[in-house]
Amino acid sequence: MQISPMANDRLPDSLPHGSRSRDVQSGSPPLGPLPYESERAEIEAAAREAVARTDFPHEYVDRVHDQGERFALRTAAPGDIRAAIALLEEQTNVQALAPIDSRNRGVGAAKKVVRKAVFFTSHHLTEQMRALGWATTSVGNAAAERIEQLEDRVRELEARLERIVGREDA
């Protein structure tokens, strides 16, 4: 690693030096010290206290958390065919209605008219795409089932082989 100190020394002092060694990954907070540590701790404590209060709207906040789950980042680990199929299944929920939001009222109205005019076509297409998606996930499920059966069989055979080898060694 070569970094021109001459170049970096002239940059804002908080930028290259303090944070270079910090373990910052996207999606996770940095491990290094952050400013306002005591305030952050107080806020977290206050949040815990609020949740413990009898008048805390648990039902609504549970609903908020449940809705948040819908946005959870789901990625299939390499080799996790079931998780990959679940992701595929999620994508089969194709929407026929395109968004028509626009800051310009006229454009929004025009989009609405176009959407209505072509709905019979887009609906027909999305229905077929959904069917194709479900068929694809069925293939995936069938393949996963078969692979899992084969894996079970391989494990059985490996165990049998080990027993046979063990008997011969004895």
């Binding site: 910052v24 306002y36 977290e44 949040a47 908020v64 939001d101």
Partner: protein, 346 residues
């Protein structure tokens, strides 16, 4: 804007500098030249260099790599494709392609500039031979222009009835996690301030995500209190900053993030999730959270609303941060860095 400012900086310093681009935004298309004309244009030039602005996969990179001209990168980061597969697979594919191109480019270029230490670390991990941090060039004088009067008046009328105004600025994109902002806002309204309002400024970059956010607002019974502005004009953006109580950023992937500094410029206190490059940019000018559970975020906003001393400290620190990132400082730094690296690696 960064590229335009950099060109001006270079021209003012006596360099010949032009911008070559494919798919330039309509507003700046006239400023860009066709990359296919580069070779003809530089014939006869003394010591030509290419500074390639890297942020997503592009066929332009393959064209640039094949030119026999010293190549340097200005790396603005590439969003992790994992955030986009579910919502906008085409964008995810471009991001994957960008990562592939970056892995090839980083070890082969003469040097690379990075907007933040976070970006620089990625370059170092990819064995880039020389790197330096050079923040995005921001001219805060651009923000001292008149806001959209009608929008500001409308927002001020709403504010007169009370209620905290939350503001989030940035492309509506899955990595920026506007859904987390909605979740926290919903809790805030229910627990702390039933009259609070949220404005989400930013154009959509994933239609399905955009739709899902609208559905989420409806499902949580907050749609009447949430405004999705889509893309706004500069004057409208100024009006939003001038009529907000708190700026909120719960993004999980940022290479720099200009809006955080914009909010600081307008004295709007910032609550942000400490991910990726956000701590590098925000520093002590923002209340950085390591947990973005909706209850924690809502409590943080309430703390800022009720604690004038903390709010004042953040705003003061934010103004210093703005000073530090103003082009008056970063411009000469970037020029010095470029001169040094070009001299040492040319």
């Amino acid at each position: 804007m960064h590229t335009l400012r950099l060109r001006k900086l270079l021209r003012d310093a006596g360099f010949e500098s032009d911008i070559y681009a494919v798919d330039a935004h309509a507003d700046v298309r006239s400023q860009a030249l066709d990359p296919r004309t580069f070779r003809d244009r530089v014939t006869g030039s003394v010591d030509p260099w290419i500074l390639y602005h890297f942020s997503i996969g592009s066929p332009l990179f393959d064209l640039v790599r094949d030119l026999d001209v010293p190549l340097a990168l200005d790396y603005h980061n590439i969003t992790d494709a994992k955030y986009f597969w579910r919502w906008e697979p085409r964008a995810a594919t471009s991001m994957m392609e960008g990562r592939r191109q970056l892995a090839t480019a980083a070890p082969a270029v003469r040097f690379a500039l990075a907007d933040s230490a976070f970006n620089e670390r990625e370059l170092i991990e990819l064995h880039c031979p020389r790197t330096a941090v050079a923040p995005i060039l921001i001219d805060f004088a651009d923000y001292d222009t008149a806001p959209d009067g009608a929008l500001l008046a409308r927002r001020e009328r709403a504010r007169a009835h009370g209620g905290t105004d939350w503001l989030a600025v940035g492309r509506i994109a899955p990595n920026k996690c506007q859904h987390d902002v909605l979740l926290a806002f919903a809790v805030y309204r229910r627990v702390h301030d039933p009259r609070a309002r949220l404005t989400l400024v930013g154009g959509q970059s994933a239609g399905l995500y955009w739709q899902a956010l609208h559905r989420l607002a409806e499902d949580l019974d907050i749609s009447a209190a949430v405004t999705f502005t889509d893309s706004v004009s500069h004057a409208e953006l100024m009006a939003c900053y001038r009529s907000s109580d708190v700026f909120i950023l719960l993004s999980e992937h940022e290479g720099f993030n200009v809006p955080v500094l914009e909010a600081m410029h307008f004295g709007v206190p910032v609550v942000a999730y400490a991910s990726s490059a956000v701590p590098d940019t925000a520093g002590d000018g923002a209340l950085l959270l390591t947990d973005k559970d909706p209850v924690v975020v809502a409590t943080a906003v309430e703390r800022l609303r009720s604690d004038a001393s903390l709010r004042g400290a953040l705003v003061d620190a934010g103004r210093k941060r703005v000073e530090r990132f103003s082009i008056a400082h970063t411009g000469p730094q970037l020029l010095d860095t470029l001169r040094t690296l070009m001299k040492e690696t040319g």
